[in-house]
């Protein structure tokens, strides 16, 4: 495999950025887990909080999407 040092750096950087996606997965899991544990304690309040759940999921997920985007930019745009 031949390639210059810039391409090497691109691949290393894209791989490092992919770690960010994995860390965002921890955040998304934490949001869902805490919602579920709260919902099982008080099921009557669960339905009114689903909107909050999805907003929390979206905010946690967005940062993972950002690092995915950085990986894509490194692979295809730089």
């Amino acid at each position: 495999m031949e390639g210059d040092i810039a391409q090497f750096g691109q691949f290393i950087g894209a791989g490092l950025a992919a770690i960010g996606s994995g860390l965002a997965a921890i955040g998304v899991g934490s949001v869902a887990a805490n919602y579920l544990s709260g919902a099982l304690r008080n099921p009557s309040a669960a339905a009114s909080q689903t909107a909050t759940l999805f907003i929390g999921l979206a905010f946690a997920e967005a940062l993972g999407i950002f690092s995915f985007l950085v990986a894509l930019l490194l692979m295809f745009a730089v």
Binding site: M1, A51, F54, I55, A58, A62, I65, F66, F68, L69
Partner: protein, 260 residues
């Protein structure tokens, strides 16, 4: 299996062998009529404009033709239209309150356009307009600009109270104000990239596994994986349309009631 995966990764780099197609080919904008290499101008009818028009047409079909009968016992299409209407109406009312209902048609339009773009994009060989940041950025910038204008029109200069926390200790307020201003201007960025990024990631993942299906040893596994991911994508398409809409509602609520 590990060696085969390495071979596929090599194929990415050297553009020889490995995957039959690139996972990002599906996001390419092509003119609908004429040669493949033709330039795409703003007036060219491309696959993006075609699928956006199809999404708009489906919304019209659902809401105008579907509810034409006005039956007391609704048909299937009519009850679907009524369900969507009721769902978005309740969401706007819950989040923004009564005065937000004035902007309900705008939010309903956003929700249905994004929902139908997402779902039509899941058809095989289809193009997903919402996977392009250019499309979602226009939607998000429209939300951002109109929400800011609504905020200043409704509250005047009191709208700036959104950035000036009265509850915080006095010496912390300037710091919080700077953070609030930054987070306010990052809103359209995250609003648009969240939608486009989710769809790009999902569609690219399906195509990556479709590339693995060409390798005989793991093709049954990858067909199962494609089916599972497709199911996940159906879920994501709905949830992302919902998230985009409910964030619009929250931004609208901030504009209508800036004093936290």
């Amino acid at each position: 299996m590990a060696t085969e995966t390495v071979a596929v990764v090599d194929g990415h780099v050297e553009e020889a062998g490995g995957l039959e197609f690139h996972p990002f080919d599906q996001f390419e904008i092509k003119p609908l009529f004429g040669e493949i290499g033709d330039p795409v101008s703003w007036y060219t009818i491309s696959n993006a404009t075609f699928w956006m028009a199809l999404a708009a047409l489906s919304v019209i079909l659902l809401l105008v033709i579907g509810t034409r009968g006005r039956a007391v016992i609704p048909s299937r299409v009519q009850s679907a239209a009524e369900l969507v209407y009721g769902f978005v109406y309740k969401m706007v009312e819950d989040v923004t309150g009564k005065e937000g209902l004035k902007y309900f048609p705008w939010i309903m339009t956003l929700f249905l356009f994004i929902l139908f773009s997402n779902y039509l994009g899941l058809l095989p060989m289809a193009f997903t307009p919402t996977s392009h940041i250019a499309v979602t950025a226009v939607l998000a910038l429209g939300v951002f600009i109109s929400v800011t204008v609504i905020g200043f029109m409704k509250n005047g200069m009191a709208f700036l109270g959104l950035f000036w926390m009265k509850e915080a200790p006095l010496f912390l307020r300037p710091v919080i104000a700077i953070i609030e201003v930054i987070s306010y201007f990052v809103r359209p960025v995250s609003h648009s990239i969240r939608l486009a990024g989710n769809l790009v990631a999902g569609h690219a993942m399906i195509k990556v596994f479709a590339g693995f299906a060409a390798i005989a040893a793991i093709s049954p596994l990858s067909v199962v994986a494609i089916t599972a991911i497709y199911g996940l994508e159906v879920l994501v398409a709905g949830i992302q349309a919902y998230v985009f809409t409910i964030l619009t509602c929250i931004y609208l609520k901030d504009a209508l009631h800036p004093s936290h």
